[in-house]
């Protein structure tokens, strides 16, 4: 289990996240929802230790061990340089880089894992294509293949539904749901409220601070939505499941 305990994060004078407490449980597919600038990505990055909290802390239960070793992170697609001369296969194989360690080269087992990951996201047919030539939806599936190739227990995804069509969106959500069913901790940042409510077990509504956390039935209320997506956040209701 991953728990954020009264977490606050600032970038200089800019407060990105304030007093945010949330928990993510193995076996559950959670979505972090909020408008632009609500601190969604910051929450993921703080959990991963890429950003330092000004107060509060991130607690990780012992079964997950070192989060850096046990987690896979899928960044926002547009933060990557897609003109880089790498193929689909190369990108998926990057998921094995940290597992392999220094001065070790991928062997048969790694190639099997990468191929299996590419098959699961249905891009094995594109494996020799340069990533430059791919569509947005294909790129996203390549990043998901890389995530799977890491064979991680915690999956953290930042806006995996951006720039993908409806059919791909459904495939991605189904895949993430399967991962959660297999006992993994899956957390997805999104601003697609509808998709999240339809597929996820847990919703975390945030707007600088936590507005609500719980099952879609519990938190998907007009008042919470209003509070999350309006510019000022007045309410502060916790609905932990």
């Amino acid at each position: 289990m991953i728990e954020t305990d009264h977490l606050s994060v600032s970038y200089g004078a800019q407060v990105a996240l304030q007093d945010a407490s949330a928990r993510f449980v193995p076996g559950q597919f959670s979505a972090v929802i909020g408008p632009n600038g609500a601190g969604k990505s910051t929450l993921l990055k703080t959990i991963l230790g890429l950003v330092t909290a000004s107060s509060g802390r991130v607690n990780v239960s012992a079964d997950l061990g070192d989060l850096r070793k046990s987690s896979a992170y899928v960044p926002q697609q547009q933060t990557l340089d897609w003109a880089f001369p790498v193929t689909v296969w190369d990108v998926a194989m990057m998921g094995r880089t940290a597992r392999l360690g220094w001065l070790r080269w991928p062997g048969r087992a790694d190639r099997d894992i990468v191929l299996d990951s590419l098959e699961q996201t249905e891009v094995e047919g594109l494996k020799d294509r340069p990533v430059q030539a791919l569509s947005g939806g294909q790129r996203q599936r390549v990043l998901l293949a890389r995530m799977l190739a890491r064979r991680a227990e915690v999956l953290l995804l930042d806006e995996p539904l951006t720039g993908v069509d409806a059919a791909t969106q459904e495939k991605i959500m189904r895949l993430l749901q399967e991962q959660a069913r297999a006992g993994r901790t899956v957390v997805m940042v999104t601003h697609d409220l509808e998709a999240a409510a339809r597929w996820c077990d847990q919703l975390l509504l945030i707007n600088r601070t936590v507005v609500a956390q719980g099952t879609p039935e519990q938190v998907y209320t007009p008042a919470n939505i209003e509070c999350t997506f309006s510019s000022s956040h007045l309410g502060h209701t916790h609905a932990h499941a």
Partner: protein
């Protein structure tokens, strides 16, 4: 015509120049690919100026010039990393401060040099025809070290370059890998400076890699294309300078530039 081409091969200095240019072109391809992909061309240029105090210092101390240059290159690479991480300044400012400071130190030391010998002059303005047997062994050793290092950290360097955030997430030492790349750039620049001089050296480092970038679908092919293209341009440039009686270094650079322009036009037509 073939005899005319064989003619200069009877000259020891010409053969050494050919070997030197080919070796350095391969080396430039290995490192230049990363320089182009990471947008480090400016650092390459800075480095070529910053090695000056190492060269002059080694000259004054009567030790190997190449050794002095490598020391200065490593110092500069680490200095740029240190200044930018400590000061919070953007990297271009850090580069500007470190490289001009180093260059000024070189010029100051130079003003204390008793004689301005041709040996030193060659290093400053570059002269492929002045390449000695010892230089070739030096270049071969540097190529070996650089190639081995890049081979050893290739998968880490690839991840750091394509997705630095993921690299940090999985716990790779991102800053140290970046410093390592800068040190390699420095070592390569030292050799290109020897061939074509300070002001032109960045051309050898990046031009053939940039041409290869226009067509190559993956990293491995980009390196191979860059190495072949750089070597061919180097050899053609050397011959041209021999027949046209022009300065060898700049002629090689011009041939590289011409090849890049042709590649650019070809790519435009293809698309």
């Amino acid at each position: 015509m073939p005899e005319a081409l064989l003619d200069p091969l009877g000259l020891g200095f010409f053969v050494r120049a050919l070997l030197g240019v080919t070796l350095v072109s391969v080396l430039c391809a290995l490192v230049g690919v990363w320089v182009v992909l990471r947008g480090l061309s400016y650092i390459g240029d800075a480095m070529s100026h910053a090695v000056l105090p190492g060269i002059v210092g080694a000259f004054l101390l009567h030790i190997n010039l190449l050794f002095g240059a490598v020391v200065a290159a490593v110092f500069t690479a680490l200095g740029i990393g240190y200044v930018s991480s400590r000061s919070g300044l953007k990297q271009d400012s850090a580069i500007g401060i470190v490289f001009v400071g180093m260059f000024a130190l070189g010029v100051t030391l130079l003003s204390r040099a008793p004689t301005y010998t041709s040996d030193l002059a060659n290093f400053l303005v570059g002269n492929p025809l002045g390449v000695t047997q010892a230089d070739l062994w030096g270049a071969l050793a540097v190529t070996g070290v650089v190639a081995f290092t890049l081979w050893a950290v290739q998968k880490e360097l690839l991840l750091v370059s394509f997705d630095p955030t993921e690299a940090r997430v999985v716990g790779l030492p991102v800053r140290r890998l970046n410093n390592l790349l800068l040190i390699l750039v420095g070592m390569v620049v030292v050799l290109t400076v020897q061939l074509v001089g300070t002001t032109l050296s960045v051309s050898l480092l990046i031009t053939s890699a940039a041409s290869a970038r226009l067509f190559a679908p993956n990293l491995r092919r980009m390196v191979i294309v860059a190495a072949i293209l750089g070597s061919v341009c180097g050899v053609v440039g050397l011959y041209l300078s021999y027949f046209l009686n022009t300065a060898a270094g700049p002629t090689i650079v011009l041939v590289n530039t011409a090849a890049f322009l042709i590649a650019l036009v070809l790519k435009g037509k293809r698309e």
